[in-house]
Each structure stands twice: as structure tokens, then as C-alpha cells.
């Protein structure tokens, strides 16, 4: 169990300076995520162009893993269609829960979360943002279908 593997520079950097942080004007949907065990809370906003995520922001109070994971996620999913985003999350989930997996090149900077798999108690911190994004996307889909 190596702390340096968990708190890699990319993680510390995104924790200190989260990207795409703060409410998104004219968002199509947003969702709140809460992890009552550790008190982490975050909100994810998305705006869509057809099936593509045109922009995504988040805001919240959480530990370094949850903040960095959300920040990295916003960078990774921008411009992607929802099916690709869901596949990406599956890959991230595998990375988070299987120690010693070699991250797929398509994960890009998200590979920095690989150290989390050594710390099972922290997996939930890293997945909160993805669940919240998924809820926001479901909501925007609802909004579209009810039109």
C-alpha cells in the first residue's frame, strides 16, 4: 500500500485546482450526489448537443480523491456522446476496483486514479462523481422524452 500511488501529482493538482468547477450557466440538467458516510457532496451540471456532452461542470465539498476524480471526469467526458461516457465509466470502475490492472490508453489522465484500488475504503469517493453525472444525464434524457 503506497500513499504516493494514491496521491499522485495529478490527483493533488486537480484537488488543489479543480477544473470546470462551479455552476454551469444554461445547463440542461444537474444532479446532486451525496456520500453520507464521509460527508462528500457534489453537484454535476451538463449541457448537451444532441447526444453529446457539450459542457460539464461540478462543484462540491469532498476529499482529495472525490474532488480530483470529479475534476478529471469533467475533462474526460466533454465532447463525448453518452454511450462513450458510460463505457468510459465501466473502464474507470474496473481500474478502481482491480489492483494491478494496466489502464487502457483511452483512459488518458483518468489512469491517475489507479492507486485507489489499493484502498478499498476510498473507491466510493472516486465513483461519486460518475454516479452523479449519470443521474444528471438520465434527468436530461427524461426532460427530452417528456417534451
Amino acid at each position: 500500500m503506497d500513499l504516493k500511488d494514491l496521491y499522485r501529482d495529478v490527483i493533488l493538482d486537480h484537488n488543489r485546482q479543480p477544473r470546470n468547477f462551479g455552476p454551469l450557466e444554461n445547463a440542461d440538467a444537474h444532479a446532486d450526489g451525496h456520500n453520507p458516510l464521509c460527508g462528500d457532496r457534489l453537484t454535476v451540471w451538463v449541457s448537451l448537443q444532441g447526444d453529446r456532452i457539450a459542457d460539464v461542470h461540478f462543484e462540491g465539498k469532498g476529499c482529495a480523491i472525490s474532488t480530483a476524480s470529479a475534476s478529471l471526469m469533467t475533462e474526460a467526458v466533454k465532447g463525448k456522446d453518452t454511450a462513450t461516457v458510460r463505457r468510459l465509466y465501466e473502464q474507470v470502475h474496473t481500474l478502481l476496483t482491480h489492483p494491478n490492472t494496466t489502464p487502457d490508453a483511452s483512459l488518458g489522465k483518468l489512469a491517475a486514479l489507479g492507486g485507489v484500488s489499493e484502498f478499498p475504503a476510498r473507491v466510493k469517493c472516486a465513483t461519486l462523481c460518475w454516479h452523479t453525472l449519470s443521474a444528471a444525464l438520465d434527468r436530461s434524457a427524461d426532460a427530452v422524452t417528456t417534451e
Binding site: P36, C38, D40, R41, K61, G62, C63
Partner: protein, 414 residues
């Protein structure tokens, strides 16, 4: 602190430590530094052996058979009840109900005492620093009966505002339910004064003693409380066993809580009659080995001397408070004048959850989160705290290990 503490021989924590085999292990390549006794204490050999002896030689069901083992098991179980009576200085064994823990004890009072009696216009008064176990059961009673829950606020130091609490005591107040010691902040509440004030308004008092029993000798007659609940596992005893003390007159009037074996005298399909106290409240086969272990834990703690343990922990608390206050960006949450050995804190720039992981990687076990006291976190406007708590086996070296590990956290998040 009373004079007994001053004259008691100081605790030899290094020796005490050797009574706890679990502490002699490495965690993540470091010697384990266990600073989470407020969540659960560890068990000394005396408790482990008592449970093993019971399981190896004496186990059977209680109160049921004429065979030898059933009798020794019953003697062990009822002997543990007598031990608990002495521990609390209750008048009678009839006042000692074995439960799973503090949570179950409070729920028993909520459902068997409050629910049948309280109604619209009645009030239950708690404080702003309660554990969820002393909030939610009362909310359930309020929903069931239409009575109202009132909360006496705390101040920035984490002390209950006594003036406000006294002001909230009215003729409508039926029950005051407060912690003896706060698990999230360490605050020791002035429970004698609260009991007096409540009684003079005609209200009864339940004390949540979960965090008090490992640090304070309890005398329920001197306290004057009507109910007192605690858990064995915070007292260096097993999990799944605890005690609810209730004044005999009150327990006598209360209907049973759960139905089943052991709690009855006669059963027919038309009507059943109930057993006498305390068995009326103990439906089903109880946690016999747990009670045996709990009795051994009480022997162990009183053997060390609760005053000596408390004085030792107070020295550690003072040292840790001084050391932590020197760390830039560290804020201690809970600065009451009278505190048990519980130290909640936050470190600027480092979320408690990250702190917990970093300290764990150094072998230092602390608790992080809301400590089952979400309203306390809301009051201080923080999502969580890190909490170090000290028990009879902790040493000054443990405090310095904590300080060093916090230095490591500041390095990572510098």
C-alpha cells in the same frame, strides 16, 4: 477531578498495553497505534479468557434446564447481571436489563416507556450534541404519538447551553434524554444539574452513557437518573451486549417490548402473562457469553481503577491538545472545559477522509467522518472531522506517533 484521582497510583500504561494482544501487531508496516477507542475499545486477555472459558466449559441455554450446564450458564449470566448492578451501583438486579447495546437500550425506553404514554402536547428534550442513537428513536416516538422533540442548543465550544436547556424545560417536558459524554466532541455534560432541573419540572431523565462508562465511575443512585444505557464494547468488553438501567418502579409499569421465550410466565392462545423484572424485557435467548465477557471487562477496568484510568487519559488529552494546537491549520472541534479523552479536529487543506488514509498508512488508527452525529457537523459547518480517542492502553508515545503522522499528512498536502 476528585481527590481519589489524585491519590490513586498512576496507571502503568505500558503494562496495561500488554494485556491487549491485538495491539501487538503491525499495520501497513508500522506498529499499530490504536486511537479509536471511542468507536470501540479493544479487549484485554481477561475478557478473551472469560469468554473462552465460558464457551469451552459452561455454555448451554439459560433459565431453561435442570441439567448441570444449564445451571452453570444461568449462574454465569445472572452473575454478570449482579456484576453490572455493582458497576452502576443500582439498588437491585431487577433494574439491570441486558440489551445489545446503547442503541437497543434507548429504543427500548422509547418504545416501551415513551410510546404508550406520550401524546400531542408532550415534549421530549434532547441536546444538540447527541449521537444518532439518541435522536432517531425519539423522532420515531414523535411520529407514533404526536409528541414533539425539542433540542437544547450547543455553543461554539461544544458545550450544551444550560440556560437555554433550563428555559426549554416546561410542564410539557416528559423526558430529557442526553449524552453523559459526547462521542463527537468529548464534552462531559453536567448531568447531575440536568437531572435535578428536569426532576423539578416533573420530567424523567435518560442518560446515554456509551462514552462515559470507560472513563467515569457511575453511580446511578447518586446521579438520580431514571434510565442509563451503555454498550459493553466501549468498555473493553464484547460487542452485542450492553445494559439498560431503569428505576424499578418505572420498569415495573412498562409493558414488555418484544415477545417470545424467557419474557413470559404462562402462555395460552387466549392470553399470556409476563415474567417479572428484568426478564420481562429479555425475550429470546440472550447474549450469554457477551454478558460473561462484559462482567470480566468490568472486573478488569475496576481492577485498574477507573479514577487512575481517567487521570491517565486526561494527561494524554492535555498533551495531545497542546501538541495538536501547535500544528498550523489544525483546528480542534470541541473545546469544552470538561472533556473526556476524545479529540476531534480538522486540518486546513486536507479533508478528514484523506487524513484517515494517510494516518492509517502510518499505522495510526483514527476515526474520520460525522461520528453518527450529523447535526454536530452541521452546527460547526464542516462535512466531517478526524477524531483521535484515548483508552487505558494508550501512551505518550501514541500521541507523538499521531503528531508525526499528521506531519506526514501536511507533507502530502503541503
Amino acid at each position: 477531578m476528585n481527590t481519589a484521582a489524585a491519590v490513586a497510583a498512576p496507571l502503568d500504561a505500558e503494562r496495561v498495553r500488554r494485556d491487549f494482544p491485538i495491539l501487538a501487531q503491525q499495520v501497513n508496516g508500522h506498529p499499530l497505534i490504536y486511537l479509536d477507542s471511542a468507536a470501540s475499545g479493544q479487549r484485554p486477555n481477561a475478557v478473551l479468557r472469560a469468554v473462552e472459558r465460558y464457551e469451552t466449559h459452561h455454555h448451554s441455554n439459560v433459565h431453561r434446564g435442570v441439567h448441570a450446564l444449564s445451571q452453570t450458564a444461568t449462574e454465569a449470566f445472572e452473575g454478570a447481571r449482579e456484576r453490572a448492578r455493582r458497576f452502576l451501583n443500582a439498588r437491585s438486579r431487577r433494574e439491570i436489563v441486558f440489551v445489545r447495546g446503547t442503541t437497543e437500550g434507548i429504543n427500548l425506553v422509547a418504545q416501551a416507556f415513551a410510546r404508550p404514554r406520550f401524546g400531542p402536547g408532550d415534549e421530549i428534550l434532547i441536546s444538540g450534541l447527541e449521537h444518532h442513537a439518541n435522536i432517531v428513536p425519539w423522532q420515531m416516538v414523535c411520529e407514533q404519538t404526536g409528541c414533539a422533540l425539542k433540542v437544547a442548543p450547543i455553543d461554539r465550544r461544544g458545550e450544551v447551553d444550560l440556560e437555554r436547556l433550563f428555559g426549554q424545560l416546561t410542564a410539557r417536558t416528559r423526558l430529557v434524554a442526553v449524552a453523559h459524554v459526547s462521542n463527537a466532541l468529548g464534552t462531559i455534560l453536567p448531568v447531575e444539574r440536568i437531572v435535578q432541573a428536569a426532576h423539578s419540572c416533573g420530567a424523567l431523565v435518560l442518560l446515554d452513557g456509551a462514552q462515559a462508562v470507560p472513563h467515569t465511575a457511575i453511580d446511578v443512585q447518586a446521579l438520580g437518573c431514571d434510565f442509563y444505557a451503555f454498550s459493553g464494547h466501549k468498555l473493553y468488553g464484547p460487542t452485542g451486549i450492553g445494559v439498560l438501567f431503569g428505576r424499578e418502579e418505572l420498569l415495573e409499569e412498562m409493558p414488555p417490548w418484544q415477545g417470545g421465550g424467557d419474557m413470559i410466565r404462562t402462555v395460552s392462545f387466549e392470553k399470556s402473562t409476563y415474567n417479572e423484572l428484568p426478564w420481562k424485557f429479555e425475550a429470546g435467548t440472550p447474549n450469554i457469553s457477551g454478558a460473561v465477557g462484559l462482567a470480566a471487562a468490568m472486573d478488569y477496568l475496576e481492577g485498574l481503577g477507573i479514577e487512575a484510568v481517567a487521570a491517565h487519559e486526561q494527561r494524554l488529552l492535555a498533551l495531545a491538545t497542546a501538541e495538536l494546537n501547535r500544528i498550523p491549520g489544525l483546528e480542534i472541534i470541541g473545546t469544552a472545559a470538561h472533556k473526556a479523552a476524545v479529540l476531534s479536529f480538522t486540518l486546513r487543506g486536507c479533508h478528514p477522509h484523506d487524513l484517515g488514509t494517510i494516518l492509517d498508512s502510518e499505522g495510526v488508527a483514527i476515526r474520520t467522518g460525522h461520528h453518527c452525529a450529523m447535526p454536530v457537523m452541521t452546527f460547526f459547518d464542516i462535512p466531517a472531522t478526524a477524531r483521535a480517542s484515548f483508552g487505558c492502553y494508550n501512551t505518550e508515545a501514541d500521541v507523538y506517533a499521531l503528531v508525526a503522522a499528521l506531519g506526514k499528512a501536511r507533507e502530502v498536502f503541503g
